[in-house]
Amino acid sequence: MLGPLAGVPMAVKDNMCTTFGATTCGSRILESFRSRYDAHVIERLESAGAVVIGKTNLDEFAMGSSTENSAYFTTLNPWDTTRVAGGSSGGSCAAVAAKIVPAALGSDTGGSIRQPAAFCGVVGLKPSYGRVSRFGLVAFGSSLDQIGPIATDVRDVALVLSVIAGHDERDSTSVDRPVPDYLARLDRLVKGIRIGISEEYFGEGLDREVREAVQAAIDLMAGEGAEVVPIHLPHMKYGIACYYLVATAEASSNLARFDGVRYGYRTPRPSDILDLYESSRGEGFGPEVKRRIMLGTYALSSGYYDAYYLKALKVRTLIKNDFETAFERVDVIASPVTPTTAFGVGEKSSDPLAMYLSDIYTISANLAGICAISVPCGFDSQGLPIGLQLMGPAFGEEHLLAIAHQYQLRTDWHACVPPLGSAVSRR
């Protein structure tokens, strides 16, 4: 019997272990690494009949919002090759947008599926934390990382999710609860659903054209009988500050494994064991990875732990509580995915903080563990795609996908194809 993805060519982000090809994480430190096992999601895709045709570019260890932090290539935006594809799953989103593959997998720690999906005009889902096993996903921020599907429309995203979701005992944070039939419930109507709108997502810094496109999407759903409910998420504005302490602290611990001993790059002539560690890591990691390891190390270091890491974890509780309160009154929350459309190559690469701020609307979903999807909802006057974000409660994918699908039945933004023939990546 044929599987649900029989013969479907797919691409996966190169931070998921595969026994074929390389698994580089976009880093020099893993340039020659060859995995001896497949990630859980690879096993699932292949047993469903999918043909994984390649690995896609990413910001080194998924740390970045533009795919410019890859040690190998910069992935360009298929809609305009002077622009970034977004990141860190820029390669997967650009490959789907450029019609190289109908679907791909990305990973999302602070918006790394949704932000490039918005920039490239495709659909990207960050499932609830625990929905998809992380076994074989090279860890960045373990309490935030989640693998999710990227495709042209919501139906294909739902199909891929139904294949990769579910319990796996090799990931102790993978949740043992039934996987609903996501495809079967896509036809649920918009009428009567409650859409939450929070002013915190429409404030200063939001581009006018992005705001108008997102507002038009909300108006369309209201016209179909959805009820628009004003809500308040007072701690959302602290999301970035909270995230860059929590995620970097986790990264500093996770990336300690790259020590030049068991796998990965080793410096050629170490003077002693300490030099082996320090030089292998110093030569193997790129600048953004070093910055984040150092920030996380600092946040966890003696004398600063309470002021930074513990403080951030407490603010995380408040962010999570805000969402839980909101989801008592609404089914989904609608917002922009990004404050602007795709920015120019090189525009933010010398200013890490400016790059971090481009994740302002996506980061809170990871801190709270909820599910969220990016759906194309228009273009700006320069022809660049705009994304609508819909967020649902933890394990609310079934309903979230249905609402996003109903939106796509009434719009054709996702059917637009970027100018092809332009190079997708360059050195």
Binding site: R34, R36, Y129, G130, S143, S172, T173, V175, H235, Y238, I240, A241, C242, Y244, L245, S252, A256, D259, V261, R262, Y263, G264, Y265, R266, P270, D272, I273, D275, L276, Y277, E278, R281, G282, E283, P287, K290, R291, I293, M294, L295, T297, Y298, S301, A307, Y308, L310, K311, A312, L313, K314, V315, T317, L318, K320, P352, L353, Y356, L367, G369, A394
Partner: protein, 101 residues
């Protein structure tokens, strides 16, 4: 909170993280990381008295399985990616110098 990092502090943190950094990097990281630390200062506006920390979004506690022996990797498989695998071991430079050994 100390909201800036000078170059000496950057070198100290790099040492803790076992990262060799160049002089140029020390200067650059000091200014970039100070900017980020200044930004995260805003967390101090939030009253977190009596707020428990959330290290994990899911209410999952310890996950157990039966303590049974299972098939695992062979030594060769485990050493497959080792930069310097030797005789079934990971070889590294001498850890102890002669005086302390």
């Amino acid at each position: 909170m100390a909201s800036s990092l000078d170059e000496a502090a950057v070198r100290h943190v790099a040492r803790l993280a076992r990262l060799k950094i160049t002089d140029t990097e020390a200067t650059l990281f000091a200014s970039q990381l100070s900017k980020v630390l200044e930004y995260v200062e805003q967390l101090n506006e939030v009253d977190t008295r009596n707020v428990p920390p959330t290290a994990h979004a899911l209410p999952v506690s310890n996950v157990f399985r039966e303590d049974v022996v299972r098939a695992s990797w062979t030594t060769d498989q485990a050493l497959h990616n080792a930069p310097d695998g030797h005789d079934g071991f990971f070889r590294v430079p001498k850890v102890l110098d002669q005086e302390s050994s």
